[in-house]
């Protein structure tokens, strides 16, 4: 516990130091990065200890404020979230060391590092707080720091727009949380989590709804997600990795924390979460499919994964409400496992994307291609990450979804009372899996495979050494968790104990063992096949040739299947939902010359849901401004009218 607090202190101190060293970018970066890594190492010690020997350690600082207290607590639930926070921030810090180098002098790196470490500190603080006051402080610090990082390149108008949307989303989310905490505090009058109790009657549901809104805005539940695909790509890549990997999970953590406080959920809460999750997962991956900017695609895929996590939580809540222990345990357990997994592979993917941006100078899928030859390591990491993101064995992505599937399948047994929601989960998980394969095949294929589609690359080169190290670490974690998932079950079980009886999760250990066995078998078989392949073609040197071009004389790189072409059948099928904009010239003469075709994925929810409402409110406001039209007589008339009205009303 103390060590984690020390870690926070280190983070804040190094942030301040980096800020003060703003003059000298190199030293500022060193300070910032080393601070983050050191803090992570120190923090991990007690985090791991809590996970291995479950306990709840509390620590309270004197607080003279009229409301709230600086009460901190570290229990397995927070520790489960602390694990990816520390690991990913450390990796991202390392990566950033190399990544930000070219911007030294152009950008205030000291400030960037300060904000980055502040962001990490805020996340740790949120996970530690056991009182609404420090929680909200950490929460807002997190929002502010990440906002500053999002507007890193504020010269671009779209970045400014993203910043505004992010700011407003964060602010309104915080207001929902305020209301929620006020409701939770109303019975006891104290805002400490320990003394919060479930308010009676419909208020409990109100609390739940507010938490879904408040935390959903951070986690990116559809339709509360609009800021996410705008903001994540705008930030520097290592920051996007942290934001997508762990920051949005703070929403999930908050939701779970509130569920712990509320206890005894209603069944319909579970239904709501499952539906939100299913919608977010499927729509998220569909939009990911439609993007042709790599980082936007990854951001949408984060929405998809949050959806998967939410489905797991929904199953858990349902199991709790219907008192089906196995469902509850597997749902929550799977969700938490996927939280960890997604942090690692999404971090890896964003970092690879950053490396691509460095080397090619663009993330526009239609202009990339053939980078595998230029940057083999990055490519390998990206494909590994994609496989994990598609939940393919033998990587970690599979394990979390496997638990959720297990819970769902368990509850469609002959005598189950939660069969229908389970089926929703199964169907959307299956569809999501297949769509994810499509999306990541598109992404990886059009970035790394084939021939370069445009030759405007500025000296393609592979990622720097430190970047490689950071990515390798995450890749290794993805593989290891894929093989060693059984060992994670005990900590997970400890984490979910406040929510659900944990023995079913431990029972699932057998299956996880088999999964690992299957994964090992697969690897073994791959090795065998590879050996066989080697054995067959020994002594037969392969012949280089050209790709089969159907006899066409002058094939060019532009003739390759492009990203939007690759997904066109699917995106067309879902056009009513995606509403992609198409633009192409009408072909008039028999032998058309140059023609161009382009599709544009649009922010459907923003354009069709939020901006109309916002415009309405603004229009109302503009009407209302008539009151201040400048005539003194009218101003005095207001006073008279108000006075008379008051006299009539109250006398």
């Amino acid at each position: 516990m103390l060590l984690v607090v020390v870690a926070v202190a280190i983070l804040i101190f190094s942030a301040a130091l980096a800020l003060s060293l703003g003059r000298d970018p190199r030293r500022a970066s060193m300070v910032g990065a080393s601070g983050a890594v050191l803090a992570a190492l120190i923090g991990l010690i007690s985090t791991v200890k809590i996970l291995l020997y479950p306990a709840t350690e509390t620590l309270s600082f004197p607080c003279s404020l009229p409301i709230g207290s600086f009460a901190l607590a570290l229990d397995p639930l927070s520790a489960i979230f602390l694990l990816p926070v520390f690991i990913l921030t450390a990796a991202a810090a390392l990566y950033g060391l190399d990544y930000l180098k070219p911007m030294a002098g152009k950008k205030p790196l000291g400030a960037v590092w300060a904000m980055f470490n502040l962001l990490s500190a805020a996340m740790v603080f949120v996970l530690l707080s056991a009182d609404a006051l420090p929680f909200l402080m950490g929460w807002e610090m997190m929002a502010a720091a990440s906002f500053a990082l999002v507007v890193f390149e504020h010269e671009k108008p779209q970045v400014r727009k993203a910043g505004l949307i992010y700011l407003v989303a964060g602010g309104s989310g915080a207001l929902f949380l305020l209301f929620m905490f006020a409701l939770l505090a109303s019975p006891s009058g104290s805002v400490a989590f320990s003394s919060m109790v479930r308010p009676g009657g419909a208020l409990a549901s109100a609390v739940f709804i507010f938490s879904v809104f408040g935390f959903g805005l951070k986690a990116g539940f559809i339709p509360l997600h609009i800021w996410l695909p705008e903001a994540h790509p705008a930030a520097p890549s290592h920051v996007s990795a942290v934001m997508s990997g762990v920051m949005i999970k703070m929403g999930i953590y908050g939701l779970l924390r509130v569920l712990v406080i509320l206890g005894a959920p209603e069944a319909w809460w579970g239904w709501l979460l499952i539906i939100i999750g299913a919608v977010s997962a499927v729509i998220g991956v569909l939009f990911a499919l439609a993007q042709h900017d790599l980082k936007r695609l990854l951001a949408w895929s984060s929405i998809e994964n949050v959806g998967i996590i939410t489905m797991g939580i929904g199953l858990g809540v349902l199991g709790q409400a219907r008192s089906v222990p196995s469902l509850a345990a597997l749902g929550y357990g799977g969700a938490l496992l996927h939280v960890i997994n997604h942090a690692f592979f999404k971090g890896l993917l964003f970092m690879s994307a950053g490396a691509v941006l460095h080397s090619a100078g663009t993330l526009e899928l239609e202009n990339l291609g053939g980078l595998l030859k230029k940057m083999p390591f990055t490519a390998f990491f990206f494909f590994l990450g994609s496989a994990a993101a598609c939940a393919l064995p033998p990587l970690n992505g599979f394990t979390g979804e496997f638990l959720i599937y297990l819970g769902a399948f368990n509850s469609i047994g002959p005598s189950s009372r939660a069969a229908f929601p389970a089926l929703i989960v199964i169907t959307s998980l299956a569809a999501t899996g297949a769509l994810a394969v499509a999306a990541f095949a598109k992404a990886g294929g059009s970035v790394f495979l084939g021939e370069p589609r445009a030759n405007n690359f500025e000296s393609p080169h592979d990622a720097g050494t430190i970047m490689k190290v950071a990515m390798a670490a995450l890749a290794a974690l993805c593989a290891v968790i894929g093989l060693c998932s059984p060992f994670l079950l005990k900590p997970l079980a400890a984490a979910i104990t406040p929510l659900a009886v944990s023995y079913p999760l431990l029972d699932a250990g057998v299956n996880m063992l088999y999964v690992s066995a299957g994964a090992l078998t697969l690897i073994a078989l791959i090795l065998c096949a590879w050996a066989l392949r080697r054995a067959i073609s020994r002594g037969l040197p392969p012949v280089p040739g050209v790709t089969w071009d159907c006899g066409y004389a002058a094939p060019t790189a532009r003739m390759q299947y492009g990203a939007s072409a690759f997904t066109q059948p699917l995106t067309d099928f879902f056009q009513p939902l995606l509403r992609k904009a198409r633009s192409y010239p009408a072909i008039t003469e028999y032998f058309p010359g140059m023609a161009s075709f382009s599709t544009e994925a649009r922010a459907v929810f923003y354009n069709h849901l939020y901006s109309p409402v916002g415009a309405q409110i603004k229009r109302l406001a503009f009407r209302y401004t008539w009151l201040q039209h400048g005539r003194l007589q009218f101003y005095i008339l207001y006073i008279v009218i108000a006075l008379i009205a008051l006299l009539v009303w109250k006398l």
């Binding site: 901006s611 409110i617 503009f622 003194l632 008379i644 006299l647 006398l651």
Partner: protein, 223 residues
């Protein structure tokens, strides 16, 4: 003696009506002054055994409202070369009707607010309230800055009618302080009117409506 006091009340109300009806600025100023003076007589008539302090105070009021304010305003009017008529935004009949309505409302309020028996003058509350409303009427329906000062003065009269007639027992200091404030207020307003007349060619308050947040052409755009 209360009958005399009530006569004064009636006079005050009639003065309100005449102010609402009068078209000449100078006349308005004079009427307001007269109203102030009459009001100041109230405590002296309303009962015997008037404390000396009150007498002094009343004299001060009479001096101020009967002499100084009219002088100030007339001077402002002349200096600022304000045309003679009051230029009401609404017609005189409407003003009178509104004034009567104000009186009705005031008397309705009077029924709501029973005077303690120590105050022996009836109709005080309606009179003062209707005077206040008349003041508001002048403020809101007259175009000129100077008429608005006038309206403010009428409101003051209304307040004084109430305060004096009720002899709300205040230490003399407080009364004086209040009086001083009113005096300074009118004085500062006078100065401001000079400035206005210098800045703008005439002091029609239509000139004085540049500041504001109302841009009729604009509509709510993308947020």
């Amino acid at each position: 003696m209360t009958t005399l006091a009530e006569l004064i009340i009636v006079a005050v109300i009639l003065l309100n009506l005449s102010m609402a009806a009068s078209g000449s600025l100078a006349a308005c100023i004079r009427l307001a002054a007269a109203q102030g003076v009459i009001a100041a007589l109230l405590p002296l008539l309303a009962g015997q055994g008037v404390p000396s302090g009150t007498i002094v105070f009343c004299c001060a009021v009479i001096l101020l409202k009967g002499a100084i304010f009219p002088w100030l305003l007339t001077r402002a009017r002349v200096k600022a070369k304000v045309s003679r008529d009051a230029e009401p935004v609404i017609g005189y009949p409407a003003s009178i009707i509104l004034c009567l309505a104000a009186f009705a409302a005031a008397s309705w309020l009077g029924t709501k607010l029973p005077l303690p028996e120590t105050a022996r003058v009836a109709w005080i509350v309606p009179a003062s309230l209707s005077t206040i409303f008349t003041g508001f009427l002048l403020l809101t329906t007259r175009a000129k800055a100077i008429t608005q000062v006038l309206g403010y003065l009428v409101i003051e009269n209304g307040i004084y009618i109430f305060g004096l007639a009720l002899f709300v027992e205040q230490p003399l200091m407080v009364e004086m302080a209040i009086l001083l404030d009113v005096f300074v207020a009118v004085f500062v307003m006078g100065i401001t009117i000079f400035h206005i007349s210098r800045e703008f060619d005439h002091i029609d308050t239509a000139e004085l409506s540049q500041l504001g947040d109302w841009y009729p052409k604009q509509t709510g755009g993308e947020k």
